[in-house]
Amino acid sequence: MTATIYLIRHGETTWNRIGRLQGQADSPLTLKGTRQAEAVGHALRAELAERPFRFWSSPLARTRQTSAIICDVLGHDYETITFDDRLMEITLGDRDGYAGWRELARDFPEEAEIRRKDPWNFRHPNGESSQMVQDRVRPILAEWKAKGGVHVVVSHGVAIKILRGLQLSLTEAETFALDRPQEAFHRLHGDGIDVIGVTMP
């Protein structure tokens, strides 16, 4: 049985708006982010067309908030969501919550230099590399494909890029170059990916 997987990023948060780095730290959805979640829910409802599905979410607050709103639009019971730690955002460890990339490069120039040379394997102190994130999301992608059916997944910018990279067998550089939309989501089916746009109110 073929699997269809919908990958949805959380709506805009207060830290997204000011460029502050979240990682596994958290900030709530903005008013705009709340409306994005609702708009994604409506587009997804049309897309699902009454097919049964399983709902997966990262357990961080911004994805819980997004999932709750999408569930209400779909008429789906929030209490049946599977919260899976493997869907959490990449953590920057000690740098989670830092003011921004420019500030990080200014305050930790040696780390920025190491990162520039090998971004895929770079880890902030106590953080994760992109490779480590790929290692934790690869099995869950394989699980969805083995199960078949429809899976709705609410996760994060980097985690979703890496899932899309796996689906399309992209190189590290190609994976980094992917976008992280909040007013569109992705459908994985067979070996391909489609982008589904969302109409904002």
Binding site: T14, P28, T30, A61, Q65, S67, A68, D72, Y78
Partner: protein, 200 residues
């Protein structure tokens, strides 16, 4: 109370557990779609009420549902969400090991304790939790320490806000608990222990 107001006291919007009639206490669930819309409507009404006057101080409970509500409200009144002050004294009463339980289950499974609670709701301490009286102490300390600045916006919780309003109005503690916990509007508290409901 020493502060002269105006002080705007809001409760978070409806959450998943509010809808399921589960006690949240200091556990947490996110806002429902309805709850997000309530937060938006309260923010809109607050913006109308403030009529361009910036909030001098914006406080919120640090629990998830109040952070989420406060962020939506802050966007409506053009207040920087990074400038919201999170104060633990604004947290909801915790029911200890009862946090997260459905109210009907609680009545059935903890019948004797529940009956004891009804005998003295003000002083009753749930197992591992707080009495309303204990909440009154931390809320009273918060109010006493408020800066003279105004207007002040506060986003907190149902039971917490009942205690807050009771203290503000100088009511008898037993009467605090009969106050309402709206999510479709909020209270404006002013000098002389008065309050006005603002419909969103």
């Amino acid at each position: 109370m020493s502060h002269t107001g105006p002080l705007y006291l809001l409760r978070h919007g409806e959450t998943i557990w509010n809808r399921a009639k589960r006690l949240q206490g200091q556990k947490d669930t996110p806002l429902t779609l309805k709850g997000a819309r309530q937060a938006e409507a309260m923010g809109h009404a607050l913006a109308r009420e403030l009529a361009g006057t910036p909030a001098a101080m914006f406080y919120a409970s640090p629990l998830g549902r109040t952070r989420q509500t406060a962020a939506i409200v802050a966007d409506q009144i053009a207040h920087d969400p990074e400038a919201i002050l999170h104060d633990d004294r604004l947290m909801e009463v915790t029911f200890g090991i009862w946090d997260g339980l459905n109210i009907e289950e609680l009545r059935a499974d903890h019948h004797d304790a529940w009956q004891n609670r009804l005998k003295d709701r003000w002083r009753f301490v749930p197992p591992g939790g707080e009495s309303y009286q204990m909440v009154g102490e931390r809320v009273g300390a918060f109010i006493a320490a408020l800066p003279a600045a105004h207007p002040i916006v506060i986003v907190a919780h149902g039971a917490h806000n009942r205690v807050f309003r009771g203290l503000w109005r100088g009511m008898q503690p037993e009467d605090f608990l009969a106050l309402d916990e709206p999510q479709d509007g909020f209270y404006r508290l002013e000098a002389g222990g008065t309050e006005t409901f603002i419909q969103a």
